[in-house]
């Protein structure tokens, strides 16, 4: 039986070098910096819908009522469908022959660009719905803006997804109101969820140089420009839900740069199990 190598064996040093090379995607020469930023922003879109879709799908067979089980699975399905389009386009823009499946199944955590919000554990049903609502309100505004993209491929995908997301927002805002303005128990759980998740919403509106470059090309909105409309929807719904909006402006961040919480690793271990155990498997 092979023993675990200690830190001084040359093999480990070699592995570390390889890992370091892999984690610095910028070292791979890219033909055009603009395309690189576009690829990055597409990953942020597709990874957000992929990871949230996977998270929500974890409810399948576990929801408090059959209708909710079906509804959550359907929302997850919409998100995965949108992922296929976003990551498919990302692969096309990258120009290295990677498919949507390659990007979903053959990258590790540091190459994922999703918001930290979507990798948060499901918690209870109220927690899941609160996360969904905070995300949907942002996703809705984002897709509205992306329909006016200077890149027709982006505009087409956004138009397709926007109709689905209008339904998601409709459903999640409805349930947040019903559970917030519900029993003492349901209100307490929704307030706990809001307090726990609020610090993960700020990342949605942070813009780095890639966001700015892509916004300047008219491909996608500057994330900052989505905040006012998101804030209006969220305050409107949370007020109707009788919930207290947290005052702290502190925001956890890092997901968009590939710096994730430990939760993403567990998601990927499950989601990518088949490709890790049987590389290249298909059917």
């Amino acid at each position: 039986m092979p023993s675990l190598p200690d830190m001084n064996t040359p093999d480990v040093a070699e592995l570390a070098r390889e890992a370091a090379a892999h984690s610095h995607a910028t070292e791979i020469p890219t033909p055009d910096a603009g395309q690189d930023a576009f690829f990055e922003v597409l990953l942020r879109l597709g990874d957000a819908t992929l990871i949230l879709g996977h998270r929500v799908s974890e409810w399948c067979g576990h929801s408090p009522a059959l209708e909710e089980d079906i509804a959550l699975a359907n929302v997850a399905l919409d998100l995965i469908g949108q992922t296929q389009m976003w990551l498919g386009l990302a692969g096309e823009v990258e120009g290295k022959g990677r498919s949507a499946d390659d990007l979903a199944y053959l990258r590790d955590a540091w190459d994922f660009r999703n918001l930290l919000l979507v990798e948060r554990p499901n918690g209870d049903f109220g927690h899941t719905l609160m996360r969904q609502f905070l995300f949907d309100a942002w996703h809705f505004e984002l897709l509205k803006a992306l329909q006016g993209s200077s890149d027709p491929r982006v505009a087409e995908i956004a138009a397709k997804a926007a109709k689905e997301v209008a339904y998601h927002l409709e459903r999640s805002s409805d349930l947040v109101i019903r559970l917030g303005d519900g029993t003492g128990e349901s209100r307490r759980r929704m307030q706990d969820a809001l307090d726990a998740l609020w610090a993960y919403t700020g990342e949605m509106f942070l813009a780095d140089e890639k966001d700015v470059a892509v916004a300047a090309a008219g491909i996608a909105p500057n994330p900052r420009d989505l905040e006012a409309a998101w804030d209006a929807t969220v305050r409107d719904v949370l007020t109707e839900a009788t919930l207290a909006i947290p005052e702290s402006g502190f925001a956890h961040k890092g997901g968009k740069r590939g710096v994730h919480t430990e939760h993403l690793g567990y998601i990927l271990a499950e989601m990518q199990f088949l490709q890790r155990a049987y590389p290249g498997a298909s059917w």
């Binding site: 469908g81 339904y167 459903r171």
Partner: protein, 173 residues
């Protein structure tokens, strides 16, 4: 196959009108309005299909069914194209398709009410709503939405408050 012996596109449309939707087999793919174009590109028949929902799991089956049906009719060079724009809405469902849905027990989408990205129901909920879904069994307008989603992503679950029949509503999107 030479150009002269191609089946006409009208003939191909007719064949496709007999290919059932895999999830709701009472309506055909053309009733559903997801076949966007049929055209010959030299010796290759190009069929353009649009998905209903972006994550619709039936998409692969639909492509397979189209391929199978057309190969059975002797089409050997076939290309299936996916087109997402303009996006499919329930307004693409044919009049005949709506009737078939109703007869099958699925309330068809209300014509011309496809979502345009507005927050449809928030307004309805606050005003009491003026959109009623009639029971496909007894025709009563006294119905209640049980869940926004039903047995497939394209449907919502309703219940008739008069005859108590639970039914699917092919929701407008």
């Amino acid at each position: 196959m030479t150009t002269a012996t191609h089946p006409s596109t009208a003939e191909v449309w007719d064949w496709l009108s007999h290919v059932p939707d895999p999830e709701i087999p009472v309506i055909s793919l053309t009733d559903l309005g997801i076949v966007r174009d049929v055209a010959w590109d030299g010796d290759t028949l190009v069929v353009t299909v649009t998905p209903t929902y972006s994550g619709c799991p039936a998409t692969a089956i639909i492509n397979l069914d189209i391929e199978k049906a057309l190969r059975e009719k002797g089409v050997s060079n076939l290309k299936l194209k996916r087109q997402i724009s303009p996006p499919w809405t329930t307004d693409w469902i044919s009049e005949g398709g709506r009737e078939k849905l109703r007869a099958y027990g699925i309330a068809p989408p209300i014509d011309g009410t496809a979502a345009d990205g507005r927050l449809i129901g928030r307004v309805n909920r606050m005003t009491g709503g003026n959109l009623t879904v009639a029971c496909p069994r007894c025709g009563s307008a006294h119905t209640t939405k049980v869940s926004q989603f039903g047995s497939t992503p394209c449907k919502a679950s309703y219940r008739c408050d008069d005859c108590l029949e639970p039914f699917d509503y092919f929701k407008c999107i």
